[in-house]
Amino acid sequence: MSGIQPVQLGVFAFIFVVVALIGVAAARWRRAESLNNLDEWGLGGRNFGGIVTWFLLGGDLYTAYTFIAVPALVYGQGQIGFFTVPYTIVLYPFAFMVMPRLWSVARRHGYVTPADFVLGRHGSKLLALAVAVTGIVSVIPYVALQLYGLRVVFEAMGLGTTGLGTSLPLFLSFVVFALYTFQSGLRAPALTAFLKDILIYAVVIVAVIYIPLSLGGYGPVFDSARHALAAKPASAKAAFITPAAAYAPYATLAFGSALALFMYPHNVTGVLAARRRDTVRRNMAALPAYTLMLGFIALLGYMAYAKGIHVSDPNLALPRLFQASFPNWFVGIAFAAIGIGAMVPAGIMAISAANLFSKNIWTTYIRHQSSASLQTWLARIAAVVITGLALLFILVIKTTFILNFQLLGGIWILQTFPAIVFGLYTRWFHRWALLLAWAAGIATGTLMAVANAFASSVYAVHLGPLQFSAYAGLIALAVNVIVLLIADPVCKALRLPRGLDETTAPDYEAEIGDEGMPAAPQPQVAP
């Protein structure tokens, strides 16, 4: 399977370019008077209905990297890769309760980013800065990971792993990404998310029906995986069914990842762009459809065993499985689906990080009197710079380092949980205690990752009689919360000044049409 695959490459390039052009043209979709304010450029006019939001959030949560990495983990280590199933199961009941509150308060006060909310609620510029910087730093490796997913696909199509063969197509993809976010803002990924998901669904449905049929059903799929995983050396930590030692890592990875996901700025962006509170609630109830798809994508890792795929880099398991199972033109479509699956979330991520920079760093700290138009121009440029940094990352730095940095990003972003989620329910906690707790969580999480030499997100705790292994992000969050509970009464006893809270209790349950909210969805201009 070496050498350039012209048919696959041709179909891939054709679909990729067509979708990118649609993205650039998306600026005209539901056109606003002007794109020169962050509500329009950065949140698509805050007017996406149920269906667009469903695709946008789906495009956000399930990325190109998901399609490569989940089957890769399942292929490489078996059961542990399935933690992604409980992760994306418990994600939605959690988000169903919490995210409508964030939508309501953000709509009431015009917040664009999670840091805007933290500033408004806790009245602490420093805490808002901490949340903004954590968001930006965690999102850049996430964008890089999307480019990495693209690179795996290029590699599978025979473009090589080093030199001009990969750097040129990656650079071209970057130009396309940058152009489309700069031009259209959130409208571009929102419009192309439709096409991405239709392609992905088509490919996955064909794959999970056709491949097992061609292999003789799910029996041989599970059997071959059971044997292949049992044959691996103990050092590979592979298993077909979760062993007792992996119970805690399995459960904490699922739970911690679920708590972390909606702390990422790009997912907040997806929520805040919805038209109504009810749109958010309905979506959280409808999004588990994607979890079913994810479960089957994970099983593709086992299908690779049944198909007799042997790769030293597990990331190639899925591309090689497709190439061994389908005609070239269909492989091209499948790879294009992954390619667009990189473009959509990378766009949303860059936009959300750019919003954070423009509003919460530039306007708060550098020039308070920035006009809406200046803020938007800054955000547009920041989006290009952030995507550029991600490209630099992938071209210059070793792959393992990017994966590690992404791992660390997940641990870091989880440390903003108390400031955001506790803040949505109570302002009991003192702003300085929240800041100190955030710092403690970041420090603990980073130290654990360093102690693991970045090789694993699971950390083995030895505290006297207490010995267990768990997801480092969740352990760091526990430290975070303990520090918060200790520091809070201390801050209050010292009578440190409380910040001003500009929100009120009804703000968190407000819907369009309530007092102080826009009367009804804004009129749309036909495209």
Binding site: P93, F96, Y218, A244, Y247, P288, A505
Partner: protein, 84 residues
Amino acid sequence: MSSGEQSGPGRTPTPGSKRPIRRIWYLLLVLPFAATLVPPFYAREAPMAGPWPFFYWWQFAWIVITALILAFVYHVTTGRGGRD
């Protein structure tokens, strides 16, 4: 909890709503956590469902059950005009 929030069973109808909104149903949302975050319970081969080991079919089944629970909870906690 924010002070403006009414909760608990038997909450009176929201003005203009077609039926009382029963917030007690939100408790159902605990079930997916209990069912999928305790691997010692389901990390086993038997009972199989056809070729599917228990570990796999149990988690897949809970994807569907969670979707149904969420749809149900959304329905019983949403009044007229999408008000919750």
